[in-house]
């Protein structure tokens, strides 16, 4: 039984939502560029030249790559004017991340925001989470998971977009009642919808043939302790989201370090033993993570502003 099948069995609301989406028959397909980029991120037999071809044939994507390379983040002294130059500056990892980010962002265009939910803000936080998760993976000795952690950070909340797109009124009501009652949003979703955005996201990820650990990470990003997966991708995404939330509220690395040290998932992650290793200073590590968080909207934000 796949993860999504399990979820459908356990959460009656999920089956209802899937059914209604399928009836509308308008579930977007995953863009080809994202599919290729994902294969690359997972180190499957994909050729880098192929991804370069994909980019060069997609004018909007090529323009985005150039815009990103010429943004302040890369701090170049002269303008980069050609695609080969830009691709070389970025390097394979950044290109992969960028293509994934941009093409997934383009699947669900921004809609008019409600006071309670903004897709723009969600994508911004997701981009921050992606870069935070990638940096965190490196910092705790799980560098080989960095690409998957990036992806996990980027798409972990995609279920929220699905809810906004296909169950807009119900979704906004759920958010409103959570705010009014002070209930945890996840609990409020379960209460009203009979499922959660995590489960819906996991179902979509499975439909899009995302790799299994990623499906699991999306399903468990609010309850990483229930994930049976080693290596602990769900924990990385959960922690990245925690850091991003604190960063966006308060900011200082010391404050976030205290929150992290009090967090059970962080404790469990560090107790796993090699290759997981405790960073020599949590505050110093968080400063690096926060640097990445700040650069994230810069990269994907520049990308987002591309006319598509």
């Amino acid at each position: 039984m796949t993860r999504a099948e399990q979820l459908v069995r356990d959460e009656p609301g999920l089956a209802r939502i899937i059914e209604s989406i399928e009836q509308i028959g308008s579930l977007p397909t995953i863009p080809a560029a994202a599919q290729r980029a994902m294969a690359l991120a997972r180190d499957e037999a994909a050729s880098m030249r192929e991804i370069a071809e994909v980019i060069s044939q997609d004018q909007a994507l090529a323009a985005t790559v150039l815009r990103v390379v010429n943004s302040a983040y890369y701090g170049l002294r002269q303008r980069v004017g050609t695609l080969p130059l830009a691709l070389t500056v970025l390097g394979v990892r950044e290109i992969t991340n960028l293509v994934l980010g941009v093409s997934l962002l383009s699947v669900f265009p921004t809609s008019s925001d409600s006071e309670l939910f903004s897709r723009e803000a969600l994508w911004r936080a997701s981009a921050q989470c992606a870069y935070a998760a990638k940096r965190l993976a490196h910092s705790v000795g799980l560098g080989r998971l960095a690409s998957e952690a990036f992806l996990g950070g980027l798409v972990h909340d995609i279920g929220l977009i699905i809810l906004d797109e296909y169950r807009h009124d119900e979704f906004i009501e759920t958010l409103r009642s959570a705010r009014q009652t002070g209930l945890d949003p996840i609990a409020a979703e379960m209460d009203r919808l009979g499922t959660t955005h995590a489960s819906i996201g996991a179902w979509l990820a499975e439909t899009w043939a995302f790799p299994e650990p990623l499906v699991e990470a999306i399903a468990c990003h609010h309850c990483p302790e229930t994930s049976s997966y080693e290596p602990p991708l769900a924990a990385l995404v959960y922690l990245a989201e925690l850091i991003v939330t604190f960063h966006n509220q308060a900011g200082a690395a010391e404050g976030i370090a205290a929150a992290l040290d009090a967090d059970a998932t962080w404790g469990r992650l560090l107790s796993l033993g090699p290759p997981v290793q405790q960073p020599s200073s949590t505050t110093a590590m968080l400063e690096q993570v926060c640097d990445e968080i700040e650069s994230a909207p810069l990269i994907l934000g520049v990308a987002r502003s591309s006319p598509r």
Binding site: R49, A52, L76
Partner: protein, 284 residues
Amino acid sequence: MEKPPEATEKHVAVVETPGNERSAWHAALSAAGWAVTCCDTADAAIEQLERAAPDVAVAEIGLQPTGGLELLKLIKARRPRTRVICTARDHELGNVLECLRGGAADYLRRPFEPSQLVRAVDEAAAATPDDEAIDIDIGEMGWIELQMPSSVRCMRRLDKFFRLLYESEVAPDTLEEISLCFTEIVKNAIEWGHRFDASKRILLSHMLFQDEIVFKVKDTGAGFDIGPMLDGAEDLIAMETEREAAGKRPGGLGITLVAGLMDSVIYNATGNMIIMSKKVYDAG
């Protein structure tokens, strides 16, 4: 049958089917002071490897039944300090890439003069494990990303492989210019970015896409102010002398040369990363 090499002698194993060529190589290498062992097949060489590790092994890629590339892998796994030179009767770019990936010290296209082999064997033997420690992240035709030690010898080896990869696609003069710029910039990173500290890694990316060949070289040094050099200093020699006297990173001459030969040269603000590119197909 050769006598087994003495422990103090430099030892080269030649894996090659018997014939005139092998005899000529044997003679030239012996004359150059090498203790030479010949093996007819890769399997014979592997057996010998169990007893002793030669300093250098020369292996023909097209050997049957086990080929030189397979032997390269086996040698690197069993005797990582042995340098391997691959020879190729049938030159294929894929094999050049495989040799680079597999850690071959050199790749020689046949036919070649025995003296060329002696030179390659001498050079390979002079390399330290540091010189060879290249980590290849991406290694495919037209797209290479790797980390190399700050070693001039390693740079020369890479330069040689790049030339082999592109000699059929890029006009000889252009290739010569690109090679000159590549070595100039990497030398700069080795000397001034890393002060010859071989343990410090240089990030090297390279791409040939559409009609443009691009190199990116990044060191971990503090970088330097490239502005005055690219903005056309009036007296470069004076500037160089002045910078050197002040204990600063020179390189003005080299960079001006590179800026002249390449189509674009771009630095980051820190001055520890350079990207340079050149169009390679403008002749048609």
